[in-house]
């Protein structure tokens, strides 16, 4: 087929060195960049997590050290990992992250599913603008959108002012610096990531299936449970992973909206790194987080292929 000639190296003159041919460059350049700056750094996380913290610049000891001339030793230090197990703080933070990520994923689904469904069912010329309206906030600054909630949720903020002015409450509700504020912030920030893959699967749903079911006397709610919901499963799972995985490592939201009760692993990593200057411990935390995220990531890759469709 002609198209393969275009993208193959077939048309190049034989004198062109192999590495300079189109195909090699097209594959090689991005591969090298990602390999160097995305893949390789993970090995450094592993390496530093096994080293000892030290008062030095950078603040850790090398794994490979020269003992006497020419004699090198490798000293692996598993102390960081043991410490993570010993101090309940870290397991609590891991559990806190799992909890926040799970609950907010479910909340996003609860709010996002009807939205995606309504957009998919709306008239043709309405769909694109409605979808754009979901994506647009994602283009404005994340930090500033989280900041907006501080003004709304704080004790003398807009929500409390409004609730008190209509006489629903007498004393301001304490929402800021509680887990509730974190959930609101997370759902708000990650909702588009749920709606988009859901929309992508729902829009391809074959309406004749529903018509057939209703002709055969199937009730609407049963149609939904037996047809729409199972068929939209790839979108549900892709969306769920797109929310769950990044929320697990979220730092900004628990830091700005959460309080001392909200322990999350991303925030803890930040503290270990910036405040305590303990790079090895922060690396060990990162390594643990990475391991935890492998399963949802594999799931994501699996369902993404099935709900292939983007922004």
């Amino acid at each position: 087929m002609a198209i393969e000639q275009l993208w193959g190296a077939g048309r190049m003159t034989p004198s062109t060195p192999k590495w300079l041919r189109g195909r090699t460059l097209i594959i090689g350049v991005p591969w090298l960049w990602l390999g160097l700056f995305f893949l390789l750094p993970f090995l450094f996380i592993l390496k530093i997590s096994l080293s000892e913290a030290a008062l030095a610049q950078p603040p850790y000891l090398d794994l490979i050290r020269e003992v006497s001339d020419g004699l090198m030793t490798i000293k692996l230090n598993f102390g960081n990992y043991l410490f993570l197990l010993e101090d309940p703080l870290y397991l609590q933070a891991l559990w806190g992250s799992v909890k926040v990520a799970t609950i907010s994923t479910l909340l996003c689904l609860l709010l996002g599913y009807p939205m995606a469904y309504a957009i998919a069912k709306s008239p043709n010329h309405w769909r694109l603008p409605l979808l754009m309206l979901v994506i647009l906030p994602f283009w404005t600054s994340f930090l500033i959108r989280v900041y907006a909630w501080i003004g709304i949720l704080k004790n003398n903020g807009l929500l409390n002012q409004w609730l008190m002015s209509i006489g629903l409450i007498d004393t301001p509700l304490e929402i800021m610096h509680t887990p509730v504020a974190v959930y609101i912030g997370v759902v708000y920030s990650y909702l588009p990531f749920m709606v988009l893959p859901l929309y992508a699967t729902l829009i391809r749903l074959d309406d004749t299936l529903l018509e057939a079911a209703s002709d055969l006397g199937c009730k609407p709610w049963k149609q939904f449970l037996k047809i729409t919901w199972p068929l939209s499963m790839p979108g549900v799972l892709a969306g769920a992973m797109l929310v769950f995985i990044p929320v697990m490592g979220e730092f900004v939201i628990p830091d700005l909206l959460g309080g001392p009760e909200t322990l999350m692993i991303g925030k803890l990593m930040w503290t270990e790194f910036f405040s305590n200057k303990d790079w090895p411990l922060a690396s060990a935390l990162a390594a643990v987080l990475l391991c935890v995220l492998i399963i949802p990531f594999v799931l994501l890759r699996h369902y993404e292929r099935r709900s292939e469709e983007v922004l």
Binding site: I3, L6, G22, R23, I26, I27, V29, W31, W33, L34, G35, F37, F38, L39, P41, F44, I45, L111, P114, Y117, A118, K121, S122, L128, M132, L133, P137, W139, S141, F142, L143, I144, R145, Y147, I150, G151, N156, G157, Y188, L191, M241, P246, G249, F251, V252, L256, G266, W270, F273, F274, W279, A286, L289, L290, F297, L300, R301, E308, V310, L311
Partner: protein
């Protein structure tokens, strides 16, 4: 439609209210005269005037714009190459790894990306002497790494839905592969390239976490300034800044959307 599915429409409206309410409140209260952001005391544009005299914010904004433009341009090139590789070459060594490397940055927690890149830069500096110190260069490299994944995803979907018969026709008529790429493929995927550039630009303008890890003294980006000021509490200047960002983004997205829509309509 309202009559057919009232519940669904209510959910949709609630969703949009939820998404836009907070943004609207930011904009409204940026014109508040009171220093206490959420206590309305009268219309004023004085916070905009103060913002325009805040050298720290302006300097950081300029640095962010510089990083974001370089980042977006590099990310478009690398992301497009990655997309071409994945869509056009069905089989090559390391394809699985590349697919993973293109998907992973989209969901990878920023704290991990930031920390891992910092450790890499530190090790590289010790062994190779490059990059010397950390700042604008290291932030740009870090941003390109995750932005190019987004570009690749956008371009990939465009390439996959593209009609290949035009390329084939040109080849059959004897055009050289390079010419076909520049005369046919590139114009066809231009909307995706524009969308990818804008996306990469905003991602970079917006990034606090990764930049905080890989930045050094002297390189303070806009989100870093905003973050340190927000930590101290709400501030009317940040509201003014937010309004400017929201309005700029909305205009850019609207213009890009209309242009692409027209192009699509002309059948190009």
């Amino acid at each position: 439609m309202w009559r057919k599915m009232p519940l669904l429409m209510t959910a949709l409206m609630f969703g949009y209210a939820f998404l836009y309410g907070p943004i609207a409140s930011l904009i409204v209260y940026s014109f508040n005269e009171n220093r206490l952001v959420t206590v309305w005391s009268g219309f004023s544009t004085k916070w905009y005037a103060e913002l325009l005299q805040n050298d720290q914010i302006l300097g950081a904004a300029w640095l962010s714009v510089k990083i974001a433009s370089v980042n977006a341009s590099l990310a478009v090139i690398l992301g497009t190459l990655a997309a071409l590789a994945l869509v056009r070459y069905k089989r090559f060594k390391g394809r699985q790894v590349m697919e993973t490397m293109v998907t992973a940055p989209l969901v990878m927690p920023e704290v991990i990306i930031g920390l891992s890149l910092l450790l890499l830069f530190v090790a590289m500096e010790r062994v190779l002497g490059w990059p010397e110190g950390r700042g604008q260069l290291t932030i740009t490299i870090a941003h390109v790494t995750f932005s190019m994944a987004y570009v690749a995803v956008v371009v990939q979907s465009r390439l996959a839905h593209m009609d290949q018969s035009l390329e084939e026709a040109a080849l059959d008529l004897g055009a050289k592969p390079r010419k076909v790429f520049f005369a046919i493929t590139l114009p066809l995927i231009t909307p995706a390239l524009v969308a990818g550039w804008l996306l990469a630009f905003t991602l970079s303008m917006d990034d606090l976490v990764v930049a905080s890890f890989v930045s050094g003294p002297g390189a303070t980006t806009l989100p870093m300034v905003v973050y340190s000021s927000v930590r101290l509490g709400v501030s009317p200047q940040i509201n003014a800044l937010a309004t400017i960002i929201v309005v700029t983004v909305s205009i850019a997205v609207a213009v890009a959307g209309v242009l692409m829509y027209r192009k699509e309509k002309r059948g190009i």
